[in-house]
């Protein structure tokens, strides 16, 4: 297999050429750093994305709280992840970085709040 992967790790957007039969024998070129190598390999064998969304929250002036996973999760379960967070309902106050789920969808990634919301009477 031969393909070109545009790296999205940083804004440089290196175009990484990759030629492979298996993950072990892959030959890469065009990468600017080591992170690009692992991104390109992941992109070919197990593409991952950081998942961001929002969940319901009560007791705040806001109705929704933004959340994210602490590391990228398999791209193939993004839709499942979106469904999963629809069922979550929290109560303010909550702090930015607070863990909502420890092992989100068995990915070993945590689901955390990405904004501090004081309680309504704070």
């Amino acid at each position: 297999m031969k393909r070109t992967v545009t790296c999205t790790v940083c804004p440089n957007g290196c175009e990484i050429g990759i030629e492979y039969n298996t993950k072990e024998d892959a030959v890469l070129n065009g990468y600017g750093c080591k992170r690009g190598v692992s991104y390109a390999l992941d992109e070919c064998f197990e593409p991952k994305r950081t998942f961001t969304s929002s969940v319901k929250i009560s007791g705040s002036d806001r109705r929704v709280l933004p959340v994210r996973t602490t590391k990228p999760i398999p791209k193939s379960i993004l839709m499942k992840a979106a469904k999963e967070v629809e069922g979550i309902s929290l109560k303010a106050p909550i702090k930015c970085g607070e863990v909502i789920e420890n092992d989100f969808l068995n990915t070993k990634a945590k689901l955390i709040a990405t904004m501090t919301l004081e309680g309504e009477n704070a």
Binding site: S53, M79, C96
Partner: protein, 419 residues
Amino acid sequence: MKDCNYDIVVVGGGPAGLAAAISAKKNGAEKVVVIERENRLGGILKQCIHAGFGLQYFGEELTGPEYAERFSVLAKENGIDFLLNTTAIEINEKTLICVNTDGVINISFGALVLAMGCRERTRANLMIPGSRPAGIYTAGTAQKLINIYGHRIGKEVVILGSGDIGMIMARRLSLGGAKVKAVIEIMPYLAGLVRNKIQCLDDFDIPLMLSHTVVDINGIDRVESVTVAPVDENRRPVMEKVETISCDTLLLSVGLIPENELTRSADVTLSGITKGAVVNQFKQTDKPYIFACGNVLHVNDLVDHVSHESEDAGKFAALYALGKLEQNNEIPVTPGDGVRYVCPQRIACENADVDLYFRTLIPGRQTTLTVLDDSGILITKKLIRTTPGTIEKLTIPADKVKKIKGKIVVCAEHKEVCI
């Protein structure tokens, strides 16, 4: 609140205003205040809940709210004052006139930093014909409705314009169960960042229709469909080849305009290209006590750039207020072949590095970026690829700044044009 006096007044509590305020304080300004019209700090970052912020500035990937919170915590720790729910309405010499529920407040200042950000171009700006049904939003408004108010906005969506916010909303809507039928771009190339095309369009199999535009919006109460046509090389729609795409929602992601009404009240000279103030490398406008930074100065691609630029604005505003910013002769900086604009538009030849931020005109590969003065090439840089969606940066080192002759021109030459 009574009329008051500050060394530095910053208008806008988004990423630019916060970085400028913190930097002003760190560089010796004693009294610093940020004026913010909303009830929370953070500006547009509050609604940008996706990841990808901070890779350059913090060396880690954050979401917009997290990036904003880091700066608002720092600002509070540094003893900066805030006036929330307050709108700045006019600049009158060295006084800023504000209004909030207490009434009118006059704030006099040593230096003023403008950091009001930008707003979206609308359907009216594009003059798209058709009826006026519900279901037409700018991408940023849709983003606010979904990410801040928790609403759903539609089930079948067409997005006009391949700007970054539009692509990010394509992903957000897809994950929320909506069907995004197409992203339509009038230019023959992508307007936003390549990473967003990959993560937001390709990941969800959303077609990108380049060299196409929306020529009609159909539906009376609610959008029912849009009529789409390819465009010729002069960007005129080819009406013989129109097609109809059924949808209940149309998002517009067709560019941003710096919000400079306040700036005009002070008679500051604006650039016809960036639509922001004309500044030197200190981010100082032609009214020496007024500085500008962030998207009100020129629309940026990454908030990380905004933070760096705004730290400069805050620093030099503080030095000006303290009487420590020397005013030397300035030389013009102009865009040459292949470059749309350069910011700053003029530089004072000091003994310090000068950063030039600019956008190229068209996408290409194997690009050579060059900075010249009247005596020849000062610096060059080669890049694998450049696109107008990305801001490029070149730094003229201090030893070369001192020796600049005549004017500065920035050029970009592609070995291969990608249209």
